[in-house]
Symmetry: C2
Amino acid sequence: GFYFHYWALFDGHAGSGAAVMAAERLHLHICEQLRDLVDILQDPSPPPICLPNDVKTGVDPNRVSEDDGDVPNDAVPRFHLEKAVSHESLVIGAIENAFKHMDDQIERERGSQHLAGGCCALAAIYLMGKFYVANAGDSRAIIIRNGEIIPMSREFTPETERQRLCCFFPQALLRPELLGKEFTHLEFPRRIQPKELGKKMLYRDQDMNGWAYKKIEEDDLKFPLIYGEGKKARMMATIGVTRGLGDHDLKVFSSNIHIKPFLSCFPEVRVYDLTQYEHCPDDVLVLGTDGLWDVTNDKEVAGVVMEVLTSYEPNDPCRYTMVAQELVVRSRGVLKERGWRLANDKLGSGDDISVFVIPL
Amino acid sequence: GFYFHYWALFDGHAGSGAAVMAAERLHLHICEQLRDLVDILQDPSPPPICLPNDVKTGVDPNRVSEDDGDVPNDAVPRFHLEKAVSHESLVIGAIENAFKHMDDQIERERGSQHLAGGCCALAAIYLMGKFYVANAGDSRAIIIRNGEIIPMSREFTPETERQRLCCFFPQALLRPELLGKEFTHLEFPRRIQPKELGKKMLYRDQDMNGWAYKKIEEDDLKFPLIYGEGKKARMMATIGVTRGLGDHDLKVFSSNIHIKPFLSCFPEVRVYDLTQYEHCPDDVLVLGTDGLWDVTNDKEVAGVVMEVLTSYEPNDPCRYTMVAQELVVRSRGVLKERGWRLANDKLGSGDDISVFVIPL
C-alpha cells in the first residue's frame, strides 16, 4: 500500500450538517477510490486500459467462457486508436468520484442524520510526490514558491460558470419541472421594469460573449437565471456558489424549483509536481475560505507569509501555524468606531475565515 | 459613419456552396449589425443600456402612453445593480449576431441556391483602432509582434469543445429525436469489443477530467459521441469541427440523426488593441486554414515571416504577399518519390491551404 496526506476546508451554508459530515467522511471516500488503484499506481508502466475479469463480479457465464483462454489484454489485436491515460489522471478520476460518492452519501443520509445545507469543499492531497488540489466552490488555494504566486484553484460562482450553466439552461427550460416558467436565460445589464416593454435594451444570450440590443418582450420580464456581479452574483436569486456538496433540499424562494440539478459536486483538480522544483522552507501551499480572499488578495497573502516566516527560525515547527493565524487576524481586522477595519481602513471580513498553511 | 477593414477565410467541407455564400455575404451581415451602432460607438460615453422608444416598432400604444413624458433613461431612478457594457463588447456582440444571421441565411436559401456542405469561418475586422478576430472552426490566427507570438484564436474540434458538447449530450440523450439510441456519452480510451462485456475498463463521463475503471455493460458498446484524438477526432463519427456555418443537412452516416443541433455557428471573438503597442513594419497578423497549421507550427510560421520580410525593402508592398505565398509553398512541400515532402522530410499538407498576412 501507500500513504497519502490530506488537508481540507469545508465552508458550510444554510446549516452546518453537510459541512460536518463532509469533514468527517470525504477522506474515507478518497481512500476507498484509491484502494483499487494501489497496484496500478505503483507499477511504472502505463495503467492497463482493461482489467482482467473479476471472478466475483457475476458476469454472464456464457460471455466468460467465450473469452475463456484468459488471454492477457495486451495480446488482443488492436485495430483502433487508443488514448494514453496517465497515472495522474487516474488519481484525478479517483478524487472526482470520491466527491460524487460523498455527495451521494449526504443525499442518502440527510433525512436520518439531519444534515442541513451544503458546503464548498477544498481538499489538498499529497500522494507520491504530487499535490492534488481539488476545489468545488469559492474557497481558494495558492502556492507561494520563492515569492512567486501559483494559483492552484479557481472559484466556481454563477459568473465564472456562466458557460456550464448556459449549456444547461436552454435544455432545462424545456423541462418545466426543472425551471418552472419563472426565469429567462437571457442576460440583461440590470432588471427590466415593466414600463420598458417595447424599448430596446442591451442583452446577451447563452452563445454570446458580447452584447447587443433587442426589443423587450413580456418574456424578458422574467427573473434572470444569473443575476448580479462579483460576490453578489446569484443563480436563480438563491445561491452564490455553483459547485459543492449537499444542498439537496435547496429550493428557489417561495417556489418548488430545486437548485441541486444546476449545481455540480465535481471538483476541478489541479496537480503540482513537487519533484519538478527545488523548494526552500519558505515555500508553502495556502488554502483559505472566501472569508480570507474577499479582503486579502494573493499578493497580500504572499507578503504576510514572507513577513511572518522570516521572523521565526526556519526549523521552528510553529512558524506555519503563526502565518495562518496572522492571515486570519489581519483579514478580520480590528473593531473601531465604524466597525471592523483592516490595516488599510477598509472593512474587515464579516464571513468566517479558515486558513491552512502547508510547507512544501 | 465609419469604415471597417475585413479579411476572412472560409474552409468548406462536403461541398463549396456554404463557403462561397459566406465569402460573398458575411461582411454584409457584419455591416448591417454595426450600422445600428454607428452613433453609439462614436460617442465616448458608455453605451446606453436602454434605447429611447423607436416609434416605428409598433409597440402597444397603451404602453407607450404610460411612458409618455419620454423621460430620458438616465433620469429613471435605479434601485438595482447595473452591469457596465463596453463599446468593445457591443462590437463583439454585433459580430456574433452577424455569424448567426449568416448561418440562418444559408439555412433559408440552401434549397433554392443549392448550397451544399458547411464551412469553417475565420474573420479579422479592423475597426476604430482594434482588430477583432472571430473564429468558428479549425482555422487559426496569430499575431507576430517583434518576434513574439500572440494567439488570436483557438480551434473548435470535438476534443477542444468536449465541455460544451458534454453539457449538451446528457440533455440530448433524453430526446431520442436528437440522438437516437446509437451513442453513449461516456468516453473510453478505445472502442470496446463485445467480448469485453463484464470486464473493468477505463472511462470518464462528462463531469470528469480524470479517468476511472467501470464494469462494461451493454450500453457501453454503443458508439461514443466523441471518438479519436487530434486531427482524427470526430463527433458522432461524422465531423471533425464543432463550429462553423452551414451543415444544416448533415446527418450521421446511414441514420436520421442530424448533426447541426450539436454544432455552433457562434465564433469566439478575440480583440487586439493596436493603440496599446508600438508596431514596426515586420509585425503582422497571420490567418491560415488548417492546411497550414497541420504541418507548420506557430514558431515555424514566425520564422518564415521574419526570413521573407527581411529579404524585401520595408516599403515594398509585395513583401506581405510573398510571405503568404512562401507559407503555402513550404506547407505543400515538394513532390518526391515518396509523395509530397516538407524541407524536414515530413509529409506535406494534403489539405487546401489559404493564408493571409496582414501588416499591423
